[in-house]
């Protein structure tokens, strides 16, 4: 095959093998969305109430939590709407857990696809995050229902919520990308991440608020806690949704907008790092599985 009878330049560029994103963003997006929607549909497939459970389940679960934490155990101090703040924290953290724990196993679970079809590999973790986002949407509806029932009013600052959730998605996606390819190489990433998720749950002001922290170093501890982007997101979401003196904005708690640069850079850093690791590993994922 040394002397081709045709002009090799006319062949165009050689194919590149599998990549993270492919070169067709429409296809990438369609794939991620289809995968996510399929999973979403399958979750309650076959149950009598079907899709209704998607909405009923958070309402019922939150009902239990709401009663326990407002009527039986009182952690709220004097903060109003503590139940709502708690629910919001749980819902947002739930998204993070779902996106990352699902992200860890996603490539292994889709092994069949990855080994048999050339498609943008990144669609797999993105689908997991999208699926988690759909569940978050439904859970947030439940939170709003409880907020209205408890007498909360509509606020202009609700408009902040999409941006706050966007930040959360960036963090979740970053970890999902990072963990998915790491798990292919090192199988004990999964139990380690389980432990980290547990630890993060307590390190993040979810079932307590930063205002309940007292003592000589309270200011510094609060600031340190909010360096965690999850804490910042939850704090800011509570501020936007409920507001009032009980739920100051993240910037106020940290003592200046400048401090927000720390969680912001962690957010961006995780996402970029995750993407770079994923992009480097994507071409060989099919062989390693």
């Amino acid at each position: 095959m040394s002397a081709e009878p045709f002009d090799i330049a006319k062949l165009g560029r050689p194919i590149s093998g599998p990549t993270a994103t492919g070169n067709d963003w429409r296809r990438f997006w369609t794939l991620a969305r289809t995968l996510a929607l399929t999973d979403f549909k399958l979750k309650f497939f076959g149950s009598a109430l079907g899709y209704l459970w998607q909405l009923m389940r958070p309402l019922l679960l939150f009902g239990v939590l709401y009663i326990v934490f407002t009527q039986i155990v009182n952690l709220s101090g004097k903060a109003p709407y503590f139940g709502i703040a708690l629910l919001l924290g749980i819902v947002l953290y739930g998204f993070f857990t779902e996106a990352t724990a699902g992200g860890v196993r996603c490539l292994i679970e889709r092994e069949n696809l990855v080994r048999k079809i050339d498609f943008p590999r990144l669609a797999v973790p993105v689908a997991v995050v999208l699926n988690a986002l759909m569940n978050l949407g439904l859970n947030l509806i439940a939170v709003f229902v409880f907020l209205m029932v408890s007498g909360g009013g509509v606020r202009l600052s609700w408009l902040e919520l999409p941006f706050i959730i966007a930040v959360l998605v960036v963090v979740g996606l970053g970890f999902a990308m990072l963990l998915s390819v790491s798990f292919v190489k090192y199988r004990d990433v999964a139990p380690i991440w389980d432990v980290i998720l547990q630890a993060l749950f307590y390190a993040t002001p979810i079932f307590y608020t930063v205002q309940t922290i007292h003592g000589p170093h309270a200011e510094a501890i609060r600031r340190a806690l909010l360096c965690n982007p999850l804490a910042t997101v939850i704090q800011q979401a509570r501020h936007a949704l409920i507001g009032g003196p009980g739920y100051p904005s993240a910037a106020t708690v940290m003592g200046g907008t400048v401090w927000l640069l720390i969680p912001a850079s962690i957010t961006v850093g995780v996402c970029v790092w995750g993407y770079l690791v994923f992009r480097r590993s994507a071409p060989r994922v099919a062989e390693l599985l």
Binding site: L11, T38, A286
Partner: protein, 432 residues
Amino acid sequence: MSTPEPVIPAVFVDGVSKEFILPREQVHTLKERALHPLRRPGHDRLRALRDVSIAIEPGEFFGIVGRNGSGKSTLLKCLAGIYGADKGDIYINGRLSAFIELGVGFNPDLAALDNVMLNATMLGLSPREARKRFDSVIAFAELEEFVDLKIKNYSSGMLVRLAFAVMIQVDAEILLIDEVLAVGDANFQQKCFDEFERIRHDGKTVLLVTHDMNSVRRFCTRAMLLEKGRVVAIGDPEAVGSKYLELNFSHEARAAEAQEAGDAPAGPAQLLPRLDDPQRFGSGEVDIEDAWFEDETGTRTEILKTAFECTFVAEVVFHERIENPRFTLELQNNHRTIVFRASSEYKDPETGAFEAGRRAQLRIFFGNLLGPDRYFATVSVERQGGGWLDRRERLLTTIVTGTIDTGAVVQFPYDLAVHPLADATTLEPAHE
């Protein structure tokens, strides 16, 4: 005079190599890493493809054959873009669709529509395109009555039909197909074959990876044989098929495999067709000089009658001393399916020793049960233990005629009886 514009290949593979690293003991956990930080696990290198080059022109139906582990699936996966090649380049000129496995991404809990959408999206269609094709997919798969059934309740045949239908409905100019022919019931298989014929007529480029030499003979315009990651032969499907058989059955090949001697170019010389005749293979130590059929009266004939005794005769001359050569006759029908094989191996392997210069006559007597059709005879003389001395493919043709043409490949002698049954023996429940 200007030379005609050279055709740009649909698929051009330029010196592609692919190596897999297989760790001897898989280090899968961080703990193992931490406990033995200095231990480097040994690994084997598996050279799945070694410097493979092919140019496939648009409209070719190209067969890729090879034994297990010869690298054919790896090549297909490289072409499909699932694996990246370590060395060399692959150029694809046109929209490509790869079918490595049927029904990838099918979810047992979803109904046909969702699965078709999912599968088609994975294969690269937009949701709108996929929805437009849904009806024709279902019609092709003959599953109109079962559209709403979850596919976990489908029979395996129905599942395969659905998957094949989705695959065939993706319009691509270049199709890569990995052994999906051996699926479904006979009726559906025929439909698949028809579909392959149609694809071929549409002028699409198809690369078919298979073990099945019959489908290579039947569909392919050109074929390639891979062995241990190297291209051993490329060209006429019939010739490549023969080499494949040679590789598969020769003991030499097995012995060579046991040794696996480095990078020495494989393939003994007799694998190549003889220069004077592309349908002739072998070392030349024996010549099959002539061959013919005789009818039940012993007269030489070109027409055989169904249900009569007949004889195949071949005359052979030995140029070297050969002990116990193996004589084989194969009959192929018009579809190139081998319908009959007779060999001294099955009857009497001790055919005797033949000195150089001796001549021999081979006579094979058989009752002709073949249905009316045209048949081709391939004759070969092999060394005991493998290696062709002479093999002449489709050396002669014969027509089989009969008073009745049942349309079947073979016509066994049979008796048929119909007995009326007395009423008392019918299956009525006893009341008394």
